[in-house]
Amino acid sequence: MSGDDDLTGTDPAPASPAASRGRWAYLLLPALGVLTLVFLLPMINLGAKSFHLSVGAGREAAEYTLRNYVAFFSDSLYWELLGWTSVLGALVTLCTLALALPLSYFLARTRSRWRSVFLLLVVAPMLISVVIRNLGWLPILGEHGLVNWLLLSAGAVRDPVHLINNLLGVMIGLVHALLPFMILTLTAVIQRIAPELEEASVSLGARPIATFWRIVLPLALPGIVAGCLLVFSLSISAYTTPALMGGGRVIVMATYIQQQVSTLLDYAKGATVSMILLVWVSALSIVALRFGKSGAET
């Protein structure tokens, strides 16, 4: 008895009905036009401005110079700004990760019929303006707010704890604002890991925590890294939350830029710091994309 011949490959996909490329290009033009006008040109202008020196309110000298960048990188003040912003971002990212992991795992594995409600609770806060959410923290974190009331009533502290209008408040605000991003990323990543892998691990004798540590986390790692990079870049570029929750005392790159541009009208410096922030965030995005891709191969 002879075996089957080796037949590989599928029938080729049918070509779409012939459509001239020119016609399709016309459809793309309006979007390209508008985006060029409202995005590309402003960004190029911003970049250009960073290569000029400010001379008075909102005006720049005509010559090109690298002085702005040199000034930034040679002044320790700016390095501190960049450094502290990044440290804050790193802390926020770690806290977000720690909080997101349990909830994401739960959402990825639960078969409860309330799952879509839970997802709604995760997604909804993202869609309400961050000013409103920050506003909502005031009654909770303020001097006479909920947390202090609990702490004072329980006798845990004698004076009210300062949880707002300082760095701690900014951290809480940022963690809260960025948590949904981390949760959604991690939930998707964990869902891609077949539950049977965990069942196999448990059947071989590993306890649930061990299974999580040895099986789920390593497999989810690329996605976790992507999520962290996302949250990190969002937190170093955040403006509203540091402005509101910091009470004007917390200076990060975003608030610094706003000061330069709106208050001091030093457009060139504002542009320079913006470009540096942009490059920082872009680099992170590119790395995150790489990790996002390899996470999808699980």
């Binding site: 399709w24 459809l27 402003p42 909080l99 909804a124 409103i132 009331w149 509203t240 965030v281």
Partner: protein, 265 residues
């Protein structure tokens, strides 16, 4: 199994943390005593009647800008997404990147760029885009358009192209197929992209802060200023109303289009 129970409890606490500020806004808006004092000493609806008119004006500004930016996004974004997926255009990857890059740029940077560019435009054409609703619509279009394009591209990936072949084989011309079959099938994706774009525009602070102002102050900026300089519980009342509105809006959209469209990871 104990870990299961602990996991659920942990998850519950984190969910609580997520909704805490929103609930807090709602609860505090009924509080009668001095602002931000817990526990509330009395219950009152008074604040809801004391919302200053400038907030309502800001609300209309936000709605106008949101609708304008979303309409622009749908008008230019849907054809663009179709062209990017089906047109086999040269440099398609670069074009794709260009259309989706704005989503990766921090909103703050977009705001600064918009402000500085508006000045350039004013110097060159004597056209003022500052403190104008039109200017805000233009600036917001920078990210509403990519949201719609991304959503429609994703919708086409899920699309069963055979239904277009079926329509053609049944005698419908390509144009007729497009309007009677392709567009209705893409409608959910377009809607979800538009809804997301609208909400992001509605909630935006940095761009509206830099570019807007005066009579073109959006609601988030109004609240932002109010929180920093002139805090009154009436803001809480308005915030509660707006949050409630957004939640109802999302819930209805989720019911109609399916929640997974918003969870676009």
């Amino acid at each position: 199994m104990t870990p299961r129970w602990i996991l659920s409890a942990l998850a519950g606490c984190i969910l609580l943390f997520l909704v805490a500020p929103v609930v807090s806004v709602a609860v505090s808006s009924f509080s009668g005593g001095p602002i931000f004092v817990f526990p509330p000493s009395s219950f009152t609806l008074a604040w809801y009647g004391q919302i200053p008119p400038e907030y309502f004006h800001a609300l209309t500004v936000s709605l106008e800008v949101g609708i304008g930016a979303t309409a622009t996004a749908v008008a230019v974004g849907v054809p663009a997404a179709l062209a990017l997926v089906r047109g086999y255009l040269p440099f398609s990857r670069a074009l794709n990147a260009l259309c989706l890059t704005p989503l990766m740029i921090p909103t703050l940077v977009i705001g600064v760029a918009a402000l500085q560019f508006a000045n350039v435009v004013y110097d060159a054409f004597k056209l003022s885009l500052l403190e104008s609703i039109f200017g805000l619509i233009l600036a917001h279009s920078a990210f509403t358009i990519p949201f719609v394009i991304r959503a429609v591209i994703a919708g086409q990936a899920r699309f069963d192209h055979d239904i277009e072949a079926a329509a053609l084989s049944l005698g419908a011309t390509p144009v007729r197929t497009f309007f009677t079959i392709t567009m209705p099938a893409l409608a959910p994706s377009i809607a979800s992209g538009a809804i997301l774009a609208f909400l992001v525009s509605f909630d935006d602070v940095p761009v509206a802060l830099f570019l807007g102002g005066g009579s073109a102050t959006t609601l988030p900026v109004q609240i932002f200023n109010g929180t920093q300089f002139d805090l009154s519980p009436a803001i809480l009342a308005l915030s509660a109303i707006v949050s409630g509105g957004v939640l109802v809006f999302i819930a209805i959209s989720g019911k109609i289009f399916g929640l997974d469209k918003f969870v676009d990871t």
